[in-house]
Every structure is written in C-alpha cells, then in structure tokens.
C-alpha cells in the first residue's frame, strides 16, 4: 500500500498572467466544468480522512478562485498542512491576509523568474514585479515563510547569481529551482529550453549558491535528477514520487500522478469515485508503482543507479520523449558518469 503524503491541487485554470513558460497553458478564463467550492471542500475532507500530510493549492492563479479563502481556511481547520503558490501580481486582499494569518501555511510560494526586467518580460506584464514586492512585504509582515519558485530556461538562468543576491537581501526563506520543459505554452518555445551545457552551468551555480547563501533554503526540484545529499538539494531523493507518495487533482477533478503530467496520465475523476479508491486501485499510477528496470529506455537505460531514482522526473521525461523513466537532465549523469 502506498501512503499518500502530498497532494497538489489545481485550484483553477484561470490566471491573470500569460507567462511564456506556463506548463499548464493557463489563460484568463475558467473552464465550465471546474469544481465548485463545495466539491473542493469534499475533496479536502476526503484527503484529511486519508491522513494526507501536505496540500498545495496551485493553479492557474489560486487567489482568483471564488471561495479560495474558504478552501484555505477549511483545509487548515481539517488539520492539513497547507501552502499555496501565487504569481503575486496583485497585493493580497485584506481578507486573504486575515485567512493566511489564521491558517499559518507552511509556506506561500511566489513565482519569481528573474530580476525586474527579466521577470516582467517572462510574465509579459510590466507591473508583475511591483506586485511581488508588495506581497513579499505582506507575507513577511504576517510572519509567513516565503518560498520563491524560479523556472529556469535560456532567458533567465544567467541571472541566478544576481537573483540570489537579491533574495538574500530580501530574506526569503526558501528558493525552489525548477527547469522549464516542453509542455503547455513552452511546447511552442523549445528554443528557450536549456541544453546539457546550460544544465551543467546551472548545477555548478546552484552548488556554489547553496554554500554561499546558507540562510536561503535553496532546493533543486526533482527535475534535476539524482544527486548526492547536500549538493544541489539538502536531502536524499528517492526518485519521482508521482503516484508513489504524491498526486495531483486538476481544476475539473481529474486525478493524476503529477500536475505536470496533464498531457499523459489521467486516472479518474473525483466525481465518479472516492479518492481513496482511485489512489489505491487506479492503474494510472502503475507506470511508477510497478516500475522495473525493464521499463526503461533512452538516456537512463544503462545507469547503475537506476533502481535508486527510477529514471528521474517523469514529467520531464514524458514531455521531452513521450515516455517515462528517462530524465533528460540528471546531475549524477552530468557530473559523475
């Protein structure tokens, strides 16, 4: 039996930005069949009964969802450890601030893709940076942990040292680095995706920045592949958790192993079955749960450490190659093999 520890919720597909690299291709409109607040409340109730540890409200822009504050407060009352990710375009309303203050989220994520000029260019909005500055102030005044999320590609990875210096001045708590991949809007901008040389430069930068800025919890996401502890991330990484210990629910109630696997792997809809039944029985998780080395082809096929990570980040693998267990980028492969 696999224990579900973390669920990412696509609160809405609606977004007030139109970022170059959006992996979900979110837009300004909601889709008609998005779950209602009542349906989401039922989802949260089920997740609390399943003793899920952590719930992250993502999007789209979750703060645009009517009733988002209710959901955040409800999840917290149920004892779920909650966090949410925002693009921070507009200053959080006073009512949201009040809910944040009561819920004490483990972190609030703010997407920052570079310093002002690069960030506004990538976000295609000249006020985007200004909103972030306001929200950083708001969250720090509330005493909430801020996790900056930066998605790296050719337009911004050169800015890592300056951005690190800025984040250090601002005193953010965590900095999550992830790699753009050819999904969503980025499918049409593959020329912006990093290559192996870029990846190595990024990794070297991250190694150095983690040593130089110990007050910032700098963590490379799963898409960086297998790496020694305390190198590009702090902890031991046991491979892609999608369907093993984590899953996602999209705005319409479809359960999937990971929100980044929207194009490939949907299990079932929460409107048809209890979540626990889907989690325990859906074959949509089998690609990862029933992994054997025989499943593997491509870049990870002959790796001696394959049983450690099962071929790295599956959403990266699928978006690049159309199959699982073959991470296009891997710290171990780049530096030790």
């Amino acid at each position: 039996m696999h224990r579900l520890r973390e669920v990412v919720i696509e609160t809405t597909k609606q977004c007030n930005l139109n970022c170059i690299h959006c992996g979900s291709d979110c837009g300004h409109k909601t889709t008609e069949d998005e779950l209602s607040v009542e349906e989401w409340r039922d989802v949260l109730l089920q997740l609390s009964e399943m003793k899920v540890g952590k719930v992250v409200f993502s999007g789209g822009e979750p703060t645009l969802k009517d009733g988002f504050e209710t959901l955040l407060a409800f999840a917290s009352v149920l004892g779920l450890k909650v966090g949410f990710i925002s693009n921070g375009l507009f200053a959080f309303s006073e009512s949201l601030q009040e809910v944040i203050s009561r819920c004490n989220p483990f972190a609030v994520g703010l997407s920052i893709d570079g310093l002002k000029q690069a960030h506004n260019k990538i976000r295609k909005n000249q006020n985007s940076w200004q909103g972030l500055m306001q929200n950083i102030s708001i969250l720090q005044n509330l005493g909430v942990q801020i996790c900056v999320v930066t998605t790296l590609h050719k337009l911004n990875y050169h800015e890592l040292p300056r951005l690190a210096s800025f984040l250090d001045l601002v005193d953010v708590d965590s900095w999550q680095l992830q790699l753009a991949m050819p999904s969503g809007r980025m499918k049409n901008q593959v020329n912006l995706l990093i290559n192996e040389d870029d990846f190595k430069k990024i990794c070297r930068e991250v190694l150095v920045l983690r040593k130089f800025y110990p007050n910032i919890n700098i963590q490379s996401a799963d898409c960086f592949g297998l790496a020694p502890e305390n190198s590009i991330r702090s902890d031991y990484w046991a491979g892609c958790p999608a369907g093993i210990s984590a899953m996602a629910i999209d705005a319409c109630g479809n359960i999937m192993p990971c929100l980044s696997l929207q194009d490939s792997q949907r299990c079932e809809n929460i409107k048809n079955k209890p979540i626990v039944e889907i989690w325990e029985k859906s074959s949509g998780f089998d690609f990862n749960r029933k992994f054997t080395n025989k499943n593997v082809k491509g870049r990870c096929e002959n790796c001696k450490l394959l049983s450690e990570c099962r071929g790295g980040c599956n959403s990266q693998s699928f978006s690049y190659y159309g199959y699982f267990h073959s991470s296009p980028f891997c710290f171990t492969r780049s530096f030790y093999q």
Partner: protein, 160 residues
Amino acid sequence: MNNAIGLIKEDLRRHRVTVTLPGEQEEKSLYLILITAKTKKFKDFVETYGNKVTTTHRKIAQKVFGVWETENVYGALIDENMQMIFAFNRDFADYDKTKKAIVFKDIDDVLIDRIEVKKIELEESEALPIGPKERGRRNPDNIGEWLIKYSLAEKKNKIT
C-alpha cells in the same frame, strides 16, 4: 559684498533651467546647482519615494545604502532671491532637459542597480561532493524528500 553677489548671479545664469516642479502645473525659471554633502542616503530614499516604500524596499535599502552618512550629490533648484525651492538626491532623480522636469528613477530599479554580485569561485573538488551510491533495497517508507513542480520547499529550521 555686493560685487560677489553680482558675480554669483552672473555665474548662476549658466545654470538657469525651465522646470515644472513635481506636483505643479506651471513652468518656472530657476537655477539648478549641484551640492555635495555627507548625509544619509537611506533617509533620502525614504523621503524621495514616500508611500511607495514597502517593508521589503525598506529592508533592501537599509542593506544596500547603509544607515550611516556618505557623500551624496544633490540637485538644488534656487530662485532669483537665492531661496531653495526644491532639492533632490541625484541617485534617485535628475533634471530632464527635454521634459523640463525632475524625473524620478523607478524605486525598484534604484535598488536592483545596487545589487552586488559576490564573486564566488570554489575549487572543483570543494564544489562537487562525492557522487551518490547505490543504497540497495530500501525500507518502502523511507522515501526521502521530493520537490515536484507545483509543490513548495519548506525551511525546516526556521526560528520564529
């Protein structure tokens, strides 16, 4: 000393500018002179940007400007009677001849321009730790930590 005043006025003519002052509608004819003084740049920053200054701006400004006195260059606009009409710290604003106005720099640009990138070079051996090793069959509950896209890192040792 009347002669001196005359000389100063003569010299000032070279510094005559037409300017619409911030918050005003009408153009004025004033003298623009530069003055260097030891003052607190942080204080000027707060005064210049007023209610645009968020807690975050203040925090960054304190670190990049310091709270001590440093040499600052001011633009001072004075009238025919040698009365100071308006002054600005040139790190934050300047006179724009074309616009005939005092143009303020964007608050975020002012701070970002001050960010210093520390030159960090670590020896390769120091930067690269020993590579990962196969751990063999693991306790299925020992699943390590992960950080999927759309999830969030958490600082665990935060002292609040």
